[in-house]
């Protein structure tokens, strides 16, 4: 494996009620987060292909960990990722790195193995990136995996690793969910109206 991993963290949250209303079944959201060495920290590197390949490796590893965590903590008929409704990804680069390093991890090659773990996923995987110090919060944007315009599934999940990223590290995360917001009621495209052809509607 090209990625030099210091730690891996998984987080699952499960919402049972919201504003006094029961959420049934409870909605679960899981994130898998890796803390890796940044091979290009402290210097300018024109060719980012090493990080692009690391992104591909982590696309599979983190997707598998996130799906396993999502399904380990609930009563599920589907344990293979087929129950995932929305997804997202994010990265935070330590202070000796460059925002472009996060882009290299996230954008060119991470998506294909991530979608393979889920079975499908026609929509763009929403993403966010930043540079920051240890404990910086990542707000992972979430969108429906088959149709980006599904309004009920626009959401975000905040995660952090208290001791990362160190200056020469990168924190990279993927998130998957079993549903959208707990009590969606602002209209827009519904899950039942998804055509699933272009990844948008």
């Amino acid at each position: 494996m090209k990625a030099k991993i210091r730690k891996i963290m998984t987080v699952v949250d499960e919402t049972l009620t919201e504003q006094g209303q029961s959420v049934s079944p409870p909605i679960r959201r899981a994130a898998a987060i890796a803390v890796i060495a940044n091979p290009f920290a402290g210097k300018f590197q024109e060719d980012l292909s090493e990080l692009i390949d690391v992104g591909e490796e982590l696309g599979q590893l983190l997707a598998e960990r996130a799906v396993a965590a999502l399904n380990a903590s609930g009563n599920n008929e589907s344990g293979n990722g087929g129950n995932v409704e929305s997804y997202g990804k994010a990265a935070a680069v330590g202070e000796n790195g460059e925002l472009e390093h996060a882009a290299a991890l996230l954008h060119p090659k991470l998506g294909a193995p991530f979608r393979k773990v889920l079975g499908k996923g026609a929509a763009l995987i929403p993403s966010s990136k930043k540079r920051g110090g240890m404990g910086v919060a990542l707000d992972i944007p979430l969108g429906h995996k088959d149709a980006a315009f599904v309004r009920s599934h626009f959401d975000g999940m905040e995660v952090r690793v208290p001791d990362a990223p160190r200056a020469n590290e990168i924190v990279i995360a993927v998130a998957v969910t079993t549903g959208g917001r707990p009590l969606p009621r602002v209209g827009g495209l519904q899950v039942s109206e998804i055509k699933g052809e272009d990844g948008l509607r």
Partner: protein
Amino acid sequence: MPEVKVRKFLVSVEEIHHEGGPPAAVPPKRGVILAVVENPYAGSFHDNILPFMDDLKPLGLDMARRLLAALGGDPKSIEGYGKGSIVGEAGELEHAALWHAPGGYSMREVLGGAKAIVPSAKKVGGPGTRLDIPVTHINASYVRSHFDSVEVGITDAPRANELVLGLVMTTGPRVHARAGGLAVADVKGEDGLR
């Protein structure tokens, strides 16, 4: 007996491969489970708060089981533990103390008996408050390699009338433990201390 109203659970597991030294053959894990529950005593002073302590026992057991499952399910793999709670702003620090008995009882129950006192931390705070939950060895509080802590928190909790209740279990020492002191191999296991 009032029902314990849970708004959400959060489970998180860290798997630590190294911290600049040689990678661990079996990476130690640190697991956390948090529950966000309604604080039945928020908003005014209640003299007798003990009933809620018993009410929390079934929830504690459920949380300890969930946490153990997230760490692989084998009670023998658990070497360290800790607990903590955060009280929302309409509550009182004393409400956090209601977690001592159920939190400790539930982990001992699930781990099949553990001798050491469960270390703990508590505070009053707003949504997103972070709490450093202390961790020590489950059978001997003085084991130096297992002194650790895990930072926990939930972005949107506790609201004013809520409590965040947390349990922590670990599967090993600090990843590069080398600061001496009582070693696991030297634990007598009689008094929970050494």
